[in-house]
């Protein structure tokens, strides 16, 4: 495996919050300044560690939202019963610090030099975060690999990175398709309901094109989608999966 991004011992380092961006009512992107950041690959994640003044520690994992070459950023969804996510999405301020280690992951990675066949990205809720890193990287590298993002969200206001995703268009080789599962705005002509085999049949690249799929979201979402893609003829090795806790982030809230 090439690259300093995956080799060697992970060490905890101090990250400083440089910017905070509210993506939706419950989701915030946190841009970080990390002095010894070694760079990352599209799809990787990092671990963070918070220490309270009584010494209490909590660790969580978050997918990296920014593309390789951009400053490292994470996007966090506030979970109602969470311990860490409410802190990160509501209390955290510019200049605050916590520890992080990363980048982590050598499997759920899109490499434009290696992966040149049509790209299928399927996101459930906050599972869109690592897939957005992949799309941003595709754009940064000038890749012409055709890409399709199928993004399942409860409602349109829950769509993370909406403005950015709406700017992609078919002429650039990227199709972004939303499916809204709980509520749609008046006049909505897009897809509704959960991602299933029927919906994928119309959207997934044909297996004959040797596509590469990345599926990310809650466990039940990932299992249903991965199973459907294999049913459409995708070899299991061409369907990469990353399961988030039923509550939204790898490893839990």
């Amino acid at each position: 495996m090439e690259g300093t991004a995956v080799r060697g011992r992970l060490t905890w380092q101090v990250a400083t919050v440089s910017e905070l961006t509210d993506e939706t009512a419950t989701v915030r992107t946190i841009d970080l300044q990390v002095p010894d950041w070694a760079g990352h690959r599209a799809g990787q994640h990092l671990d963070i560690r918070l220490t309270g003044d009584d010494g209490y520690r909590a660790e969580r994992s978050y997918s990296i939202a920014s593309a390789p070459g951009e400053p490292v950023a994470i996007t966090v969804e506030r979970l109602e019963d969470g311990e860490v996510s409410p802190y990160l999405t509501e209390d955290l301020r510019q200049g605050d610090q916590f520890e992080l280690r990363g980048p982590i992951g050598g499997y759920f990675i899109w490499d434009p030099a290696r992966d040149t066949t049509p790209l299928l990205l399927v996101a459930g809720g906050s599972g869109v975060v690592p897939l957005r890193s992949i799309l941003r990287y595709r754009e940064r590298t000038g890749s012409t690999t055709p890409a399709r993002l199928l993004y399942s969200a409860r409602t349109l206001p829950d769509v993370i990175y909406r403005d950015e995703l709406d700017r992609y268009n078919h002429d650039q080789g990227v199709d972004v398709i939303y499916t809204l599962t709980r509520q749609q705005p008046p006049g909505w002509t897009g897809r509704t309901g959960r991602v299933n085999a029927a919906m994928l049949t119309g959207i997934a690249w044909p297996a004959s094109q040797n596509p590469l799929a990345f599926v990310c979201g809650p466990t039940s979402f990932v299992e249903a989608v991965a199973g459907a893609l294999v049913g459409l003829g995708y070899p299991p090795g061409r369907v990469k999966t990353e399961r988030f806790g039923a509550t939204g982030a790898p490893g839990g809230p």
Partner: protein, 83 residues
């Protein structure tokens, strides 16, 4: 509760093995399954972390942190090959 997958313990694996391991190939010691560690079933909310074969559910690896030191039992694996 639903299991996660090997991606969720990428940091733990790298800490214990000194190397990225989510793409490493694991062979189940009980059935014939071979695949990336990222595709195993992982239970993180327990006294330790339990990694199971997605095909037969047998235990492949167990990580426990005992007095601050991480211990790993790999007896459920027939093989583990870092890429």
């Amino acid at each position: 509760m639903d299991a996660l997958d090997g991606n969720a313990i990428g940091g733990l694996l790298q800490e214990v093995f000194g190397h990225e391991m989510t793409a490493a190939l694991a062979t189940c010691g009980s059935c014939d399954w071979v695949g990336p560690v990222a595709e195993t079933m992982v239970y993180v909310r327990a006294p330790g972390t339990v990694v199971r074969c997605r095909t037969c559910t047998r235990v492949l690896m167990v990580f426990a942190e005992v007095r601050g030191r991480k211990c790993v039992d790999l007896q459920g694996l027939a093989a583990l090959q870092a890429s």
